[in-house]
Amino acid sequence: MIQKKVALRASLGSVALCALSVMTTGAASAEDAPKHGGTAIIHMASEQRALNPALRASTGVYNITGKIMEPLIDKSYDGYEPVLATEWSTSDDGKHITVKLREGVKWHDGEPFTCADVSFSAMELWKKLLNYSSTLQQNLDSVDCTDDHTAVFNYSQPMPLSLFVAAMPDLGHPVAKHLYEGTDILKNPYNTAPVGTGPFKFVEYERGQYVIAERNPDYWRGKEYPYLDRIVWRFIPDKSAAAAALESGEVHESGFNGVSMSDIERLSKDERFDVGTMGYENNVAHSTVEFNHRNPILANLKVRQAMYHGLDIDYAIKTIMRGFAKPGRGPIPSAGGANYTDQVTTYDYDPELAKKMLDEAGYPVKDDGFRFHLRHRPAPWGEYTQLWGQYYAQAMREIGIDVEILTNDAPGFLNGVYRDHDFDTANGWHQFRSDPAVSTMVWLRSGAPAGTPWSNQFGWQSDEMDTMIDEAQAELDPEQRAADYHAIQAKAMDEIPVIFAIEHPFISVTSTKLKNHHNTPRWNSSSWYDLWLDE
């Protein structure tokens, strides 16, 4: 079990470790010949009722549909990998991106996959209906089909090829035009019974229970793929019950922290399971503390710095995340590759310094024992966000700031923070999606209308930052682009509009019976054509 020891507590994004584990995974599959057959059963903690990745960009959707529908490009540990696209290039002005499509691919209903499908999907779904993608593709004018297997994406503004490619694994799933054209796309029955080109065909969706997909015998990668006969996703909302299902052998894998941290730690010592953060390099998230800068106390940089000094991040990582995390260094996580830098200002845990800074900022301890009172909204995203919110309140009380926690369900939280701005501080997380332009920059860029969740609704505005973000997004030269992002990261750590306190990957618990698992940086979302079961 070399892989287990390596994967366990692997600091994410560490290139050396990634390379090593790819090697061990590869070696293992070379030794034992893969077996055909079997049913893999996967735990899903929440149910994403719509099963169309071209309508809903969400890891929960990819988890299931990634096996049935494929993107143009996927990501592997070696970089971007052709799937339905075979090659891609851009024009000199960056306004025309040409994508060659794979030939001989068939939809599960037997119709051929062509450029018409891509053109239709891009214009009707990706640009108009897909969350996140509609911003990305807002300048997309048209998609021309020069032949059946060549698509040209025409933009009115330059689109960096690296950004286009980085977005494709999540936001580049074509649907079959012949099944969607002329229908009400949002109510199309194929949204819950997907038809794709992937290694598995959709069979059955029993709401609240499971989704079943079975082997596609005509898969384009060849007759030997996929190895599995069937995949079943079981919806088990209760984490304790999910851990019990893993132990009783009813489930083979639980990803995205589907069981509690304590059970993750416990099962990591169990020989029957591989536990680790591998396969989530593309899905890293930040645990945050968000400030409402409309509150004059919090608009004071010195107060925010003092609060940062009051947080014992290492302690929180050790106790709440059980060591499966690292301190955050601004809006780009270490998994961000070239765009990441650790050359930024940091704020060590020092409660005495924090108290002194608060005194200096003009907020001495008053008669009631506190300097000031804050109303805090924690995101209801389960165990760790709740504990992190409570730890934050605990830590702030130690430096003389009274924090009252206002608990809400998800719509209540999203409204209170991102629409009504009715909070002083909040905590939640934001997922990094391989490129800062399509993910964490919305936390800093001003101008998002009220009611846009996970955007800068903090009342913090910096023209300089806005300009830097816009320039970085449009920058075509990768090296300059990385430098731009380093500067943004440094500025974000200096001014702390938001505390990107902890960077944590997701953790999966996998039965050792599954082989070739977690071998790509977005494994749970990938197609699993090479996954096999040793029973």
């Binding site: 049913t39 059963i41 929440s46 994403q48 009722r49 719509a50 809903r56 960009a57 969400s58 890891t59 929960g60 959707v61 209906l129 969350n131 996140y132 509609s134 911003t135 949002l186 109510k187 949204n191 819950t192 029993e206 709401r207 609240g208 229970q209 499971y210 079943i212 069937r230 079943v232 079981r234 919806f235 088990i236 909302p237 209760d238 304790s240 019950a241 019990a244 299902a245 132990e247 009783s248 009813e250 809400n408 369900d409 998800a410 719509p411 209540g412 999203l414 409204n415 209170g416 629409r419 009504d420 997922q431 919305v442 998002a448 209308p449 009611g451 846009t452 969740p453 996970w454 955007s455």
Partner: protein, 329 residues
């Protein structure tokens, strides 16, 4: 010409007419209540998706009719409901009626078994406890019943999973049937039954003490009444006395409450269904509240109201059959 309906039908009609304003009240109340909650279903959906931009959010809201005034939304809903159209669930991307039908079976099965077990066992134990009131037997029965009643249902459920699924490996952790088991006929029935053992046990153990206490009190009360004393004085045996005189009358107040219990148990099953991943109405109701899935929640509440009305009607009939005084009248 006057219609001569049998009394039972007249009675049924009267109950129905009484139920209509209650149901209307419930529907309007529920609708307005959920509208008071911060955020709507689009917020919930976008939260589930992991975010979206402003234009996308605005478009969804228009699409779902959430940009109209609340009274307009309520009116449109009620007009559809009168035609028995429950509307569309934007969370499930499916019509509400379809989902409700899917879930109803599980819930009815779970509730019918739990309630009958709780009712039968509770009445039986309650009668025993009452016959030996204040004895050790009574104390033991009553206290054990109360301990189960006092145990939070999630605690009881988790303990059962740990014991019977993880330690002993006898029963499945959750779900309604073996996934990809593809059983048919009796195998299917047995498979579903195996999945329902623990949730049923959890629910019935909790509600058992309710019936136990009620029955115990009821028997004690009836045992003191004149007609029982008369019967005893006439030399009726204790067993005969118990079955023919006491039980029959003691059951009356217990049965009256059976109808009302349905809603309570449905609420109680929210937690149990969540732990055992059962696709029932309780869990669906909870999800609908936190997803602000208006049409779905309204559908569930409507269904509940109908079921309560029907169950109440049936218990009334049962009541009439059991109560000798009503029969004579």
């Amino acid at each position: 010409m006057t219609l001569h309906l049998p009394p039972i039908l007249t009675y049924a009609l009267r109950r129905l007419v009484q139920a209509v304003p209650v149901i209307v009240l419930i529907m309007i109340g529920t609708f307005l209540l959920l509208k008071l909650a911060p955020g709507d279903t689009v917020d919930a959906l976008v939260g589930d998706m992991g975010g979206a931009d402003a234009a996308y959010i605005a478009r969804l809201r228009t699409e779902y009719g959430l940009d109209q005034p609340v009274w307009m939304q309520l009116w449109l809903y009620m007009v559809k409901l009168v035609q028995f159209d429950f509307g569309w669930s934007f969370v499930y991307e499916e019509s509400v009626a379809t989902i409700l039908l899917e879930r109803l079976g599980t819930t009815l099965m779970l509730m019918a078994t739990s309630l009958s077990i709780a009712f039968t066992a509770g009445c039986f134990l309650g009668a025993i406890a009452a016959r030996r009131a204040y004895s050790l037997t009574d104390n033991i029965i009553s206290t054990i019943g109360l301990v189960f009643y006092a145990t939070p249902s999630f605690f009881l459920s988790l303990m059962m999973i740990l014991l019977f699924s993880v330690q002993l490996g006898w029963l499945p952790v959750g779900g309604i049937k073996t996934v990809a088991g593809f059983y048919t006929g009796w195998d299917h029935v047995l498979d579903v039954a195996r999945h329902l053992i623990m949730p049923t046990a959890a629910l019935s153990l909790i509600y058992l003490s309710f019936y136990l206490r009620l029955m115990r009190a009821s028997v004690l009360e009836v045992a003191d009444l004149d007609f029982v004393r008369t019967a005893r004085a006439k030399g009726a045996g204790e067993t005969r006395l118990m079955i023919h005189h006491i039980m029959r009358n003691a059951l009356l107040p217990v049965i009256t409450l059976l109808g009302m219990q349905f809603s309570t148990v449905l609420g109680g099953s929210v937690v149990v269904e969540t732990i055992f991943s059962l696709p029932g109405l309780g869990q669906l109701a909870y999800q609908s509240v936190i997803q602000r899935d208006m049409n779905m929640l309204m559908g569930i509440i409507f269904l509940c109201a109908i079921i309560v009305v029907v169950v109440n009607f049936l218990t009334d009939l049962l009541y009439a059959r059991l109560d000798s005084r009503i029969e004579l009248a």
